[in-house]
Amino acid sequence: MRFLPHTDTDRQAMLTSMGMDNMAELFADIPAEFHLAPGSLNLPDALSEAGIVRKFTRAAEQNRHAGNTRCFLGGGTYHHFVPAVVDYVISRGEFLTAYTPYQPEIAQGTLQALFEYQTMIARLTDMDVSNASMYEAATATAEAALMARRVTRKTRTIIAGSVNPRYRAVTENYLSRLDGEYVEVGFGAFGTDLDAVIAAMDTTTACVIVQYPDFYGSVYDLAPLREACDAHKCLMIVAFSDISAFGLITPPGAYGADIAVGSGQALGIPMAFGGPHLGVFACKQKYVRQMPGRVCGLTRDADGKRGFVLTLSTREQHIRREKATSNICTNQGLMCTAAAAYMTLMGDAGLETVARHSAAALNMLVSRLPDGVSAADGAHYNETVLSFVSRAKRDAFLATARHRDIFAGIPLEQLVRDSDARHLLVATTEMIEESDINDYIAALEVA
């Protein structure tokens, strides 16, 4: 077995040095009734390295993917460009095969990258501070709701109906075993009914969670929400699905959000059928001691040199145990390093270009829609809802598009309640070229 360095001679010599004759003696403390005969599990026989490559290549070839199709799918995961350097950086064994940096003297690389990541996330979202990541956006949203309960010592949670249904489902699930009311309001017509959200607020409310751009890609003014949150002394939590938006549009912090959470997958992380992605979590400085998850801070070493450590650990599970701010231990450390590398390769200019191209592609697509298909009203970033006259028309289009290697959108009823099932959630990124849009429109015209 090529991953095991010992020869049988080594093993025997080691056993002998311990006064043992055979391997079985090492397991004498496990009752005999539980011992498995070696090789008795129902598993296939070992594959060679070449055999593994062949197996995975065959499986991969059975899938369609963004490289051999045109991907107009969003809903929380987006096909953005990943520069080669990003994958190179996270393939370096020193980043890839290190543990959580508990021994900071020999983990300064991971720690400085985390500090740079936190700084850039704070700047991109215009928040004071960021943690060193959560698993992904849905759990980050749920953790934000839990944090608001700790900060306000209130238990009522309001979430807008235009928040990604998966974030809502996980948040509701996390809160369902705890005291307090969970309220979903403001199911606008493919957008956010902010008035309804505000109307639902009261003095017992711990937080209001909205998404911006919302699940339908709609962009709207959050200023009224800030005022209402101040009036009711509750936290304003802004979720997002595609952080690339903030290279172009006003970020949550500029509206005075208390907590901003969402997906950082757009920052150089492949879609990978749903993970590993990156959960972004940023908040105001004054709440930092209630923030969940790992966080990296600046300090000095014994010689006075600048260095970095994991800090504020008194919030965490291994110290506080049941009183911890969260049970999170492992996070998405490597994805932070990827995002840091991505952001510096882009810089302000590159991030703005990604956002402009993503929005421009949707704008071009929407402006060319033929009769019988319409897009949702209002300002949209890179995602919108297309409405067809009937389900049959929509499904005929999906089939035509698929035949032309276009994943044209997600049928809305797969994600939210949509009784007439004639809608499509469509997203664009900088990976969509004009020719792809031409092909998309052509498929619409024949369907």
Binding site: F3, L4, D10, R11, M14, L26, F27, D29, I30, P31, L36, L43, P44, A46, V53, A59, N63, R64, H65, R92, T97, T100, I106, A107, Q108, G109, V129, Y135, E136, T139, R166, A169, V170, T250, F273, G274, G275, V288, R294, G297, T299, D301, A302, D303, K305, V309, T311, H318, E322, L334, M335, L345, M346, G347, R356, S358, A361, L362, I410, E433
Partner: protein, 492 residues
């Protein structure tokens, strides 16, 4: 400090400023594809007023920046990494290669099911293998990490108890040797934990357990082998007692490496087990994630598995998103699929015929270290260890040397320290987990270093132990200052 004219600090090891301190912006950003036409007028009102101030570096500068940072890190590819309870084993490179195949890495999670049959096959296969290896009837891949798996396990236990009318059962028994995530996870499920004291041998004390078993017990959370590295030989009785009292048994699979292919937690009476694939199945730790924490369950808990989940229907696979008894979803997607590709490749490489060698060599290596060190370091619990061995600083403390000093001196000698001050049930704990992927040569070198440190203590040559480490890029860091006035982002 960063204004120094030259960057080399030791040989060819370099200082490297923060990205924000680099002198200049890149002349132009990366060349991006896409539609360069107009953004809609409706977005004009929402444009950012100020740029985010993300410092763009040219590609050569960016690569050099991150390569230099990487060189300040120690990884399993760099050297021995005996962190107890963390299972730092070699991460095969072929696993990285196959996980990056475009047909796996660039698949959107909402593609039609007929376009993702290949990846569903690999995920379903892994699900089946994990159930077989752990001895359970089914597995959910949704949890994103071990602590997340714990939460899911407790949610299912809660649901199962509620379904049988046991809403009042909220007491979760947790041995005092448990991982810190255990009590935190229980609190999130609206349950509370009661700590049960370990017996004199570091194992669960049956009488102590019985004392806590009553009508309010929801579950016992246990790790086996426990965090002292010893096997809970009374496991059958422990599970029986909890079940007889109407509770369920949750298994923390952090230490599954000791058992893989040799024995199965499911056969021992546990109701579920979370598996840290980033430990046992060698997916890279990445400096703190991504991991994955699938949970294996028996028939009692199977109806409550989270959705979405993969179902095999004849020769095709589909994704089930609704299930009346399910606890619901705990993640946006099916799970950390990219991590699971690597885990599948790892199990494929061992297969039926070699899998047991993982546990055998891991346990062999841990006992070898224990045997070589037991005369000079205090061993709190005698007898066999499993995949990790527990020592303390009791003998060295007489010379004023503590566990932390030993750990830091190891750094100067070229080894990543063991886990220190955990488990909490002994004073000055040093938990050493070598894993199966280390050679005897490496184990001997580490043991020699440990013996040398012990000898230094005996000889009273302890000054350098308090100073250590002096060789790495940074020396001991002031964690108190970092926590007192936290600086979490760079301010120019």
């Amino acid at each position: 400090m960063m204004n120094a004219q030259y960057s080399a600090v030791s040989g060819m090891q370099h200082e490297e400023p923060l990205l924000f301190e680099h002198a200049h912006e890149a002349p132009e950003s990366i060349n991006l594809p896409g539609v360069a036409s107009e953004i809609p007028l409706t977005l004009d009102a929402f444009k950012r007023k100020t740029p985010p101030r993300i410092p763009g570096l040219s590609e050569p500068e960016a690569v050099r920046h991150f390569v230099r940072l990487s060189q300040w890190n120690h990884g399993i590819e760099t050297g021995f990494y005996p962190l107890g309870s963390c299972t730092m084993k070699y991460n095969p490179r072929v696993n990285e290669q196959v996980a990056r195949l475009p047909g796996l890495a660039h698949v959107h999670p909402d593609q039609p099911e007929d376009s993702v049959q290949g990846i569903l096959t690999l995920l379903y296969e892994l699900q089946t293998w994990l159930a077989e290896i752990a001895g359970f009837s089914d597995v959910t891949l949704q949890p994103a990490a071990g602590a997340h798996g714990e939460l899911v396990g407790l949610m299912m236990i809660r649901a199962a108890l509620d379904a049988r009318g046991d809403q009042h059962r909220k007491k979760v028994l947790v041995p005092d040797s448990a991982h810190g995530t255990n009590p935190a996870s229980a609190a999130l499920c609206g349950m509370f934990t009661v700590e049960i004291k370990s017996g004199p041998d570091g194992r669960i004390d049956l009488d102590e357990l019985k004392r806590h078993l009553d009508d309010n017990v929801a579950a016992l959370m246990m790790t086996n082998p426990n965090t002292a590295g010893t096997f809970e030989s009374d496991i059958r009785e422990i599970c029986q007692l909890v079940h007889d009292a109407g509770g369920l048994v949750y298994g923390d699979g952090a230490n599954l490496n000791a058992l893989v292919g040799v024995a199965r937690p499911g056969d021992m009476g546990l109701d579920c087990l979370h598996i840290n694939v980033h430990k046992t199945f060698s997916t890279p730790h990445g400096g703190g994630g991504p991991g994955a924490g699938p949970v294996a369950v028996n028939d009692t808990l199977k109806p409550f598995l989270p959705v979405p989940r993969i179902i095999k229907d004849g020769d095709t696979y589909r994704i089930e998103t609704r299930d009346s008894q399910s606890i619901g979803s705990v993640l946006s997607t099916l799970g950390q699929t990219g991590v699971y590709m690597r885990a599948n490749a790892y199990i494929s490489a061992f297969g039926r015929n070699h899998l047991h060698k993982i546990a055998q060599d891991a346990v062999l290596n841990a006992n070898y270290i224990l045997c070589r060190l037991k005369d000079v370091y205090h061993v709190p619990f005698s007898g066999l260890c499993k995949h990790e061995c527990l020592l303390t600083d009791e003998y060295q403390e007489k010379h004023g040397v503590k566990t932390l000093d030993i750990a830091k001196q190891l750094i100067d000698l070229g080894f990543h320290p063991m886990t220190v001050y955990f488990p909490l049930i002994v004073h000055g704990a040093m938990l050493i987990e070598p894993t199966e992927t280390e050679s005897r040569e490496t184990l001997d070198a580490f043991c020699n270093a440990m013996l040398e440190i012990a000898a230094q203590c005996e000889a009273g040559e302890t000054d350098m132990l308090h100073e250590a480490p002096v060789k790495p890029f940074r020396r001991r860091l002031d964690e108190t200052q970092a926590a007192r006035k936290p600086v979490l982002v760079w301010q120019e």
